[in-house]
């Protein structure tokens, strides 16, 4: 169980996910998908129950998980007044990531190089999203946590994300993404979880049979 202020965002989740899995979280708004992602990132404290992410027990040391995960939330964590490059270099340096990875990551995300020195406040929402994703890519996380990654992106951007996810899984990482774009993500995921009321109501492994989790 995990609380947001006083609200039980997560009300009992039983889950086990392994490497190379691409897990899709679907469910209604307010179901707790974002909270589950934040819990996995080591940002939410589990009030009760056990949670082990990448071998680290969250009750003991949440902070240790954070370096190994990459979270893309609804916000971008970009400083408006700094340029794209300045933002990414800052985040790379404080995350102990090689700053030389920044330019390739931006290119990978299709951010035009002419935008590199532009202040983030002048970018469109879609461009900001790409930059925020580049920040995740640069970290090369073992666990990717993506909260509606396709939102605000054009068709090319969405294809790009799908490719990124496939590549990440192939490289051995685990990807958990929450999305409402079912038709696109259905082929991508190896597992579908339905989240509702702060808990998991359906757990379907693609290819095998499904199970309804009561």
């Amino acid at each position: 169980m995990a609380l947001l202020g006083q609200f039980p965002a997560l009300a009992g989740v039983d889950l086990e996910i392994g490497p190379r899995e691409v897990v899709l979280l679907q469910g209604p708004n307010g179901a707790g998908k974002s909270s589950l992602l934040r819990l996995c990132a080591g940002l939410l404290r589990p009030e009760s129950g056990d949670a082990t992410i990448l071998g680290i027990d969250l009750a003991v040391n949440r902070a240790a998980v954070r370096r190994s995960v990459g979270l893309l939330g609804h916000d971008t964590a970009l400083y408006d007044d700094l340029s794209v490059i300045e933002n990414l270099r800052f985040w790379a340096e404080v995350s102990r990531v090689d700053p030389n990875a920044v330019l390739p990551a931006l290119a990978r995300l299709g951010v035009q190089s002419r935008l590199n020195d532009v202040a983030v406040r002048h970018l469109s929402a879609g461009q900001r999203r790409r930059v925020a994703l580049a920040a995740v890519v640069v970290r090369r996380p073992q666990l990717w946590l993506l909260d509606e990654p396709h939102a605000g992106l054009d068709q090319a951007g969405r294809d790009l994300i799908d490719q990124l996810i496939r590549d990440a899984a192939k490289a051995g990482a685990t990807v958990i993404l929450a999305s409402h774009e079912l038709d696109r993500t259905v082929d991508l995921a190896t597992r579908h979880l339905t989240v509702a009321g702060g808990t998991i109501t359906r757990d379907v492994v693609v290819g095998a049979g499904g199970s309804d989790v009561a």
Partner: protein, 231 residues
């Protein structure tokens, strides 16, 4: 590529955060286009209020100077805090795995630098507007540096405290100003000595200011993490 020693890493992170904050301030130009004019205006308004009475102004210069600095510090801390509250930056700082104490020191240094800049200009202001004559420059400068360290230290911690609170702008001064009362007392007396207006031992007051600064900076470094994590 990076030193594996944690202490060195912490200072490095603090420097990165400080540079980032200062860069943002420079780009947005708030310090120069808003804070400095505000400080100047306060000096002028005091002049009006005290009826341009030269002897009174001279006697009151130290106090007016530091009251102005306190008002400015409220603004500076607000600005410093609001940089991180935009768009999930606080969460990203946690995810980056950076030591909270490093964030604290970096932000406090950035606030201190801005305050020192404003103080330099204010010194010019009081010389021109209030006819102040500086008799002991080393004392003056030392007072500014030490007092500012304390202000930035206490302010940055309180800034983080009010970061998630809804009436942030009004609650910060209520907390900040009582805590900074010793700075006002000490810095004003030290300035009195430096301006030669009152026979007090300014350097002794500097000792008090240094004590205040040291204690609050240590407290800040220790408590900042809790606030970043939990609130």
């Amino acid at each position: 590529m990076w030193s594996s020693e944690p202490e060195v890493a912490m200072w490095r992170d603090a420097r990165l955060v400080a540079l980032k904050d200062l860069q943002i301030e420079w780009r947005s130009r708030t310090t120069f286009s808003q804070v400095v004019p505000f400080a100047g205006l306060v000096l002028v308004l005091f002049g009006f209020a005290l009826d341009a009475n030269r002897p009174v102004l001279e006697r009151a210069t130290s106090g007016l100077f530091w009251v102005t600095v306190l008002f400015v510090s409220n603004l500076a801390v607000q600005r410093s805090t609001s940089i991180e509250t935009t768009d999930g930056a606080r969460r990203a700082l946690l995810l980056a795995g950076i030591e909270p104490a490093s964030v604290y020191v970096g932000k406090a240094v950035a606030v201190a630098v801005q305050l020192l800049l404003v103080e330099m200009l204010l010194v010019g202001g009081v010389i021109v507007l209030y006819g102040a004559e500086i008799q002991d420059w080393p004392l003056l400068i030392a007072t500014c540096v030490v007092a500012t360290a304390g202000i930035a230290g206490a302010g940055t911690l309180l800034g983080a405290l009010v970061a998630g609170v809804r009436a942030r702008e009004t609650v910060l001064p209520v907390l900040l100003l009582p805590v900074l009362a010793p700075v006002l007392i000490g810095a004003t007396r030290a300035f009195d000595d430096a301006l030669g207006s009152v026979a007090v031992d300014g350097w002794a007051w500097l000792g008090l200011l240094a004590g205040f600064g040291a204690i609050n900076v240590v407290l800040g470094a220790l408590a900042y993490g809790v606030l970043l994590e939990e609130t």
